[in-house]
């Protein structure tokens, strides 16, 4: 270790490596990803806790209300329910991102990162990459649970993979919503209050009930909910009951399941970046 007390500035003459390169951005991104994954490695039960709500919902809706639920156009309600549950879990995932970002901001971790010679993009990109890995793990666990409860995907392997791809695409777009909100809310406690908003938003969709069974205006809102597009598209791809109401947005669910996440990303990614840059103002 260097101990030249007279002039520490002269001690380290090693040139600073070029931190602007893409390679460093990728390396830093990976290091931040690894950090988040280490959280889960240390506390694997965290994933199970997060999945408690969707699994409980599946049990409640599938078995308690299930027999009273009807699926327009016929089909098993539990078959209808599972893809909705996958989509809802992806949608609620933005809360993980929000809480993680606001916690880092409130604890000064964001400032520490910003005072370091790392790539500024890595904080969000690493967070997002880790969130996608976690989301994939969540989907796997949920799918296995669904299979145990009798759910079947009958659309073939490529269509099934495409369905999971659309689910992850939705989650990807919500990373930027999460980062943006995480920079916006003042405290982790305040972020918890977002559940109150997020919950109805996920409910007013085709997650649990077909929009065609709702009052007209509410059904229209539910049908145009981005979560509905992903849910309906994955139902189609999995070969599960779709229960479409014949509206344009439901007829073009796969297209909309691509368009919505791209639109959300196009709006929220720049907002998140701007928010991050405004930290230095």
């Amino acid at each position: 270790m260097t101990t030249d007390a007279a002039n520490p500035a002269a001690v380290r003459t090693a040139p600073v490596r070029d931190h602007g390169s893409v390679l460093w951005a990728v390396t830093d991104c990976w290091n931040i990803t690894r950090r988040t994954l280490t959280h889960y490695q240390r506390h694997p039960s965290a994933v199970v806790w997060q999945l408690g709500f969707p699994i409980l919902s599946v049990l409640l809706y599938g078995y308690v209300f299930g027999s009273a639920m009807k699926v327009p156009g016929g089909g098993d309600y539990r078959e209808f329910l599972m893809p909705g549950m996958f989509a809802m879990t992806m949608a609620m995932g933005f809360m993980n991102t929000t809480v993680a970002v606001v916690t880092d901001a409130a604890r000064g971790v964001v400032d520490r990162f910003r005072s370091m010679p790392m790539a500024p993009s890595a904080f969000a990109s690493g967070r997002g990459a880790a969130d996608l890995v976690v989301a994939a793990a969540e989907l796997t666990i949920l799918a296995v649970t669904a299979l145990l409860m009798g759910w079947r995907a009958e659309g073939g392997v490529p269509a099934g993979l495409a369905a999971f791809g659309l689910l992850l695409l939705l989650r990807f777009s919500l990373i930027w919503v999460g980062v943006w909100l995480g920079m916006l809310v003042p405290t982790p406690e305040a972020a918890g209050g977002l559940y109150a908003v997020a919950f109805p938003v996920t409910m007013i969709s085709s997650t649990f009930v077909a929009p065609s069974l709702m009052p007209g205006w509410l059904g229209t809102i539910a049908a145009w909910n981005p979560i509905s597009s992903t849910a309906t598209a994955t139902r189609e791809l999995f070969g599960n009951p779709v229960a479409g109401g014949g509206t344009w947005v439901e007829e073009h669910a796969v297209l909309m399941a691509v368009v919505w996440p791209l639109a959300i990303t196009l709006v929220c990614l720049p907002l998140a970046v701007r928010r991050f840059q405004r930290l230095s103002r």
Binding site: A9, R12, S115, R278
Partner: protein
């Protein structure tokens, strides 16, 4: 005011140099008033020393540190850290500094060791070197025993030490410590002080902000006092204390109605000095030359007049007194819109 003796230019010879730095914040909303968090701030820190930056809440301490640590852009003036221009070469500055903010920037989801390894990798040390450096720092900051425990279980002092260790990965030339002991118990403060002394012995320059005069007194060889975004004094702690003078007598009246009588009694022993009356706390205090005589006289006078007091005593000069003497107002800001906690721009930013 505080112009460097060696003139300006990249090779100023100072570890930290600020000249006339201005940082403006625009008030929120349309027609919001502009606030100057820094208003021509000057600072010169010699290499290898601990330099204290003292000031009340809202004086601009945190803003100054955030500007120098490249977290905030400034609007005018010049700032240099480790011989590098802060505005022009923020990335190079970042590889030469460490920052310890008001909250321990510790990842509670990781162990102490994992925290240090993560920061090491983010400083591009590579896996092997990051592991090695983490081990060294855990030993050096006396955290080896708790290294593989979750940081969540650490005490306040341990968190702070881990925080310090994280900022020392690259052995920075300049370390910014922003109120590192706020919220710590006396033992935790002692632990942090020990760590800071060890760092300086290793050649690091430390810029320390604090609200505690005794902290600056224990650690800093020089102190800059900041008020309303400007440096209003720059001296050794001893010289500052001499300016404040000796002990103060302090009386807390039992009844608010007796405040005038108490003020008069204190005024008689103040020798013409300033007598401060705090109506909300029912407290009156003033500087006194002869401690015991003043205490006796005030106590007897109040007793003779039949005035009940809740508390009466002598106390050592505090930062409050330094401010009173230097600025004419106390360390606790009044209703001028710079209320407590506003020093830090974070709440406003995040809440916006």
């Amino acid at each position: 005011m505080l112009m460097p003796e060696t003139g300006s230019g990249a090779a100023s010879g100072y570890a930290v140099l600020a000249e006339g730095v201005v940082k403006r914040y625009r008030g929120r909303g349309r027609g919001g008033t502009e606030k100057r968090a820094l208003d021509g701030f000057d600072l010169a820190v010699r290499p290898g020393t601990v330099h204290g930056l003292l000031g009340p809440n809202g004086a601009g301490k945190t803003t100054a540190v955030r500007v120098l640590a490249t977290l905030l852009r400034y609007d005018a003036g010049r700032a240099e850290v480790a011989g590098l221009d802060v505005a022009r070469e923020p990335r190079r500055v970042r590889s030469r500094i460490g920052l310890v903010g008001q909250y321990a920037a510790v990842d509670e989801g990781l162990t102490g060791r994992q925290n240090l390894e993560m920061f090491g990798r983010l400083f591009h040390l590579g896996n092997r070197r990051a592991r090695q450096r983490a081990g060294e720092l855990l030993d050096r900051f006396d955290l080896a025993e708790a290294a593989d425990k979750g940081a969540k279980e650490y005490s306040g002092g341990m968190r702070r030490r881990l925080d310090l260790a994280s900022s020392m990965i690259l052995q920075p030339d300049v370390l910014f410590l922003d109120e590192p002991t706020t919220g710590l118990d006396p033992r935790g403060r002692g632990e942090v002080w020990e760590a800071v002394r060890a760092l300086v012995a290793g050649g690091t320059t430390v810029l320390l902000t604090t609200q505690y005069l005794d902290e600056a007194d224990k650690l800093a060889s020089r102190v800059t006092v900041i008020d309303r975004g400007r440096a209003i004094a720059d001296d050794t702690p001893d010289a500052l204390k001499n300016r404040v003078g000796g002990d103060r007598i302090e009386v807390v009246a039992a009844e608010a109605g007796d405040l005038d009588a108490v003020t008069r009694a204190v005024d008689r022993v103040a020798g013409g000095g300033l007598v401060v009356t705090d109506a909300t706390a029912r407290r009156v205090h003033a500087q006194v030359a002869d401690r015991v005589a003043a205490l006796t006289e005030v106590a007897r006078g109040l007793q003779d007049a039949g005035i009940a007091v809740e508390d009466i005593g002598l106390r050592r000069p505090s930062l409050d007194d330094v401010f009173l003497r230097l600025t004419g107002h106390g360390a606790v800001p009044g209703g001028d819109g710079r209320g407590a906690g506003n020093d830090d721009h974070i709440p406003a930013e995040v809440a916006a």
